[in-house]
Amino acid sequence: MNHPDAWVIWIGVICTLAVYSILYRENPVFRFFEHVYIGLAAGYGIFTTVTQVLVPQWGIPLFKEGKWSWIFSMLIGVMFYFVYSKRHVWIARWAMALFIGTGAGLGIAGFVTEFVPQMKASIKPIWHAPWTLNTFSFNNLLMFITLITVMSYFFFSIEHKRPVLKGSAQTGRWLLMIAFGAIFGNTVMARVSLFIDRMQFLLFEWLKFHQPY
């Protein structure tokens, strides 16, 4: 979009200002554009589902290539609609059960693929041969302490009253708060940058202010 039409810019400006109006308070203009937005998103959802899923992944294999077994994926999909029938609701549940089962299976496999590499990455030498001052890593020690204490905070079946666990869990909570604070601070940059983007759109593409840089 290098030289967008004037009216595309105007549509963009109206939408932008309408959304920003909620910063003052919820108002009829925002409400109107909220509905338009949901409508557009729903329409776009229909569009992408048809063009990216139903036609290329189902229609073409079934009707063009004659792979008749694809009909069953439609039949299972239709089963979900029985949720609106009080008597036949079990049909919808049956279809849901299939998804719940696969979700569970993927969850079990996913645990290994996600967390075993992370566990390996957590094992780091704090101090290794030849054990001089240069091979001691304070950062690795700190990472180890953070990991241990934060994990200890999340034990639920033991009361956090025993002195060792209490101390560890308390330390873990503090370190966790540092971690959350840092994440908050780190996200500020990305969000502000998005707002600068919008501001540049309003100032330079719409109001055509002179760019000083």
Binding site: G43, W68, M74, T102, L142, G181
Partner: protein, 271 residues
């Protein structure tokens, strides 16, 4: 695959009828039996992915025979099938939206015109998008449809998305103002960490410590280095520790659902 087109239609027709008949007959079962079907389905659905993953890619049977994983070839078509099934549930959302907004318009509830705007937007986007993809594009109408689709997408949807996303900058400012109070020790370290990371990410914040050397032990006190240290050491390992717990929780839940040990929203009710 099939030589005759009519054969395909017959098979499709037979499949639909057969499926309906099957559902009808299963509907006659007692609710306990239906429940059993559901439990077995859940188990089988999970079993496939578990076997596929835990069966080695190539199994060497004492070097006289090598067996490839028999499940892996089905992984992709199955994934595609689930996506298609998901695609067919699309209308569940649309029906829900239509019922709510259709009701608003029919009863002329307060703000019914918003609901009307919803319908216009949805139908316009879907219609012009689909026309652009499948309709005739060379006709004057086709060209207009293309233009309308593009301006709805680039002008409206993209702007709305970007603007909603950028609201976060404002909300982060007010949230920081309201919530970042040094009430307790925990709150203080949270605020300090956020403070330092924000400083270490912009030139103005880095400028405060630019006098410190770039090498040696004092360089660690430059704001950008403090920020990276907080993020890379404490945040990273803290979040990793949390994620271990979350992962174990998800694993336990998966197991319970898979083996029908869960007591929750789903399997309780009799039909």
């Amino acid at each position: 695959m099939l030589k005759h087109r009519w054969l395909l239609w017959i098979i499709i027709f037979a499949a639909v009828i057969g499926w309906a008949l099957l559902l009808f007959l299963l509907g006659k079962l007692r609710s306990r039996e239906k429940k059993l079907i559901i439990i077995v389905t859940t188990f089988l659905g999970g079993l496939f992915y578990v076997l596929e993953f835990f069966f080695p890619g190539k199994l060497h049977l004492f070097s006289w025979k090598t067996v490839n994983n028999p499940f892996t070839p089905f992984l992709e078509p199955l994934g595609q099938a689930f996506m298609v099934i998901g695609g067919f549930t699309l209308l569940l959302g649309v029906i829900n939206l239509t019922m709510v907004h259709g009701g608003n318009i029919r009863k002329l509830k307060k703000g019914w015109y918003n609901s009307l705007a919803f319908f216009v937007a949805m139908l316009a986007m879907a219609f012009f998008g689909l026309w652009d993809a499948y309709g005739k594009q060379t006709t004057p109408f086709g060209k207009t449809a293309h233009e309308i689709y593009l301006s709805l997408f680039n002008g409206a949807l993209v702007s709305l998305d970007a603007t909603m996303f950028s609201l976060l900058a404002f909300y982060m400012a007010t949230a920081a103002f309201r919530a970042f109070r040094l009430r307790s020790g925990e709150a203080t370290v949270l605020v300090l960490a956020a403070f330092l990371v924000m400083m270490g990410q912009v030139p103005m914040g880095m400028w405060f410590t630019h006098g410190l050397p770039t090498e040696g032990s004092l360089s660690g006190f430059r704001t950008e280095n403090i920020a990276m240290w907080l993020l890379g050491i404490i945040s990273m390992s803290g979040l990793r520790a949390v994620n271990f717990g979350v992962g174990v929780g998800a694993l336990a839940m998966s197991l319970r659902l898979w083996l029908y040990l869960e007591r929750g929203a789903f399997f309780e009710q009799e039909f």
